[in-house]
Symmetry: C2
Subunit: 402 residues, 2 copies
Amino acid sequence: MNESTLSKKEVICNWPFSDSSLSIKANAIREILKVSARPGIINFAGGLPAAELFPETHLKEATEKVFQKHGPKALQYSLTLGIVELRELLSERISTADNKYEPDSIQITTGSQQGLDMIGRAFINPGDYILTEAPTYLGALSAFNFYDARYCTVPLDEGGMRVDLAEDLIKKYKPKVIYVVPNFQNPSGITMSASRREILVELASRYQIPIVDDNPYGELRYSGDPVPSLKALGGDAVISLGTFSKIISPGVRTGWIAACPKVIRMMEKVKQSVDLHSATFPQYMIYEYMLAGHLEKHLEIICKAYHKRRDVMLNTMANEFPAEVTFTRPEGGLFLWVTLPKSIGAADIFDKAIDAGVAFVPGKPFFPHEDNDQHFRLNFCHASEDNIMEGIRRLAKVLNSL
Amino acid sequence: MNESTLSKKEVICNWPFSDSSLSIKANAIREILKVSARPGIINFAGGLPAAELFPETHLKEATEKVFQKHGPKALQYSLTLGIVELRELLSERISTADNKYEPDSIQITTGSQQGLDMIGRAFINPGDYILTEAPTYLGALSAFNFYDARYCTVPLDEGGMRVDLAEDLIKKYKPKVIYVVPNFQNPSGITMSASRREILVELASRYQIPIVDDNPYGELRYSGDPVPSLKALGGDAVISLGTFSKIISPGVRTGWIAACPKVIRMMEKVKQSVDLHSATFPQYMIYEYMLAGHLEKHLEIICKAYHKRRDVMLNTMANEFPAEVTFTRPEGGLFLWVTLPKSIGAADIFDKAIDAGVAFVPGKPFFPHEDNDQHFRLNFCHASEDNIMEGIRRLAKVLNSL
């Protein structure tokens, strides 16, 4: 190598990044995960399921079966929609008497996050409005923001989205899509009531607006009565996102979009250009795991454990938190939502909490307009019961000192 | 469920897809793969490596080690850049004396296709030009087209991109990025000469245009002498895309972007919004496979087999094809490129070839402006030697009958 080539090592003075990429904000949760990984910190921040509950033994058995039964096929390129075997099992599993899914109504994705990005890509023109709950899942905002979405937001109460406020927004902003997390919502833990679901699908039908039903936690119910799915009420107006991340393992990154054929045809084209298809091998792992009949039993195990952890967290909070700090009591899922008195900002106490050895996610980035700093999100599934008690005590100390 | 909800089943009459998604053309190769999967067809179409050469036994051992050594960590969410263990091994492997990579100069992707989409996302504003070879990899066009890229194209000859024609195009179109497949190019099989690489990096430096070096086949050389990498000549102006798809397994969908820190920081933000991170489990599989030292020996095995297959295909073509049909003689990679006489269009003979029991990819979609139908691409690695001979004879029959 001569001098002139060596001198070229730092040639690009200003990298010509695109406008859209320059406007991406780092995902707040991923950034907080870096801080909360410090030793000694009890982590209520991320959306991580409990690693000690992963079905390692059965997944190992499933993996052996993948090599035995599928061999090279599990290591080769595969269909853009995802392997047929998994889509067959999955379509049976999510079908009901009134709503039949075919294997071709499913697009396998690299986790739900990719599903959200693909929804953004398939539907949003720059400046289009999306009707969302406020607060809503920040990963969805991160996905939709890239496509220059704008938001019209409906507040939540204990019955979920205040759908009585939705119609005026629909008339005013003509949203392209309605995005909701109806079950054990991220971040609030709130579940939308059956009557509000009926109103929402009626609005969707009347104004011809597809509903994106983001449902990673639907099978993690610990108390209360099941509510009909949006799909059961709204049929083909509903695009459902699901994932194995919270019920088997997030590291296999296997999620799905289930929708009517027209939407799935579009998703297939989108998926071709983004990564051809999701990893084949983990799809076969999940397939063999489900085929062996392990999933339903595993769901019982994790629901039982998460149920206890939720109760431990709620009880400790009730005992230790100052009375003016309130919180939701979710019937399932991973998260609960804390509301601070108006005088206190959640971002302000984040550093104090980290110093005290406990991490949460401040609520602001969950609001599409980032106009509310009065909340934070706690994951009640990830830590052990002992750590939940200790972590909540640490947090209570911070809150009581304000 | 009552009548009024049932009647909502087909509520969305016109799905409000985004303009960009409506303009996506189905990926020609993925569509052809469906046709060429019919029984009895000898398939030279896809970019599939030979499945019977996958290192199944060693990957099975690696998978057992993943469960033994990493357990829950391999099943949990992981870092957006990818698992540290793999990035450490990989950075050592791709570093040279003059070009050191750190683990943090690598972003793991879901195959190279995702790397291409992320490049598009990070650099292209609507209407921006990209300087490419013509023909060039159609998966890259599929990725970049979504971002409304335009193309200024430089023809190829046996020495690769005609870089003597590049400067005028750079002056006229001010391309944002230079995209090249310098080694055993897809689709042509041609390798860019060392002297042209020097000219290209000099142009990149002088006009401040990053080079994207898409290099999935670089380690698959069967004859001829190695050529210095663009990175070795161009240093930090070069963004390199690599993948384990062609050297270990495509089904694990594990590729990477290697670049200077500023670019990788941007890629990390992009990756957060598209899927948080690629699947953890396959990354650990690849890591344990490489750690056990299997990769170099496996490369010898597949290079030996692909070398023979290439020679069988070239020899059969030389014997059987009409003299007016010419073709490239690649020193490596997976593909060779056939040129038809001007009177014959490749798309026209595709159906005849399928009827004769052999599939290829017509060349038109590899041209950014789709202005040339005189070529087709053959994969010489996927079929057995016997099938290569038989498939080329079938194809020769079609060509001789025209």
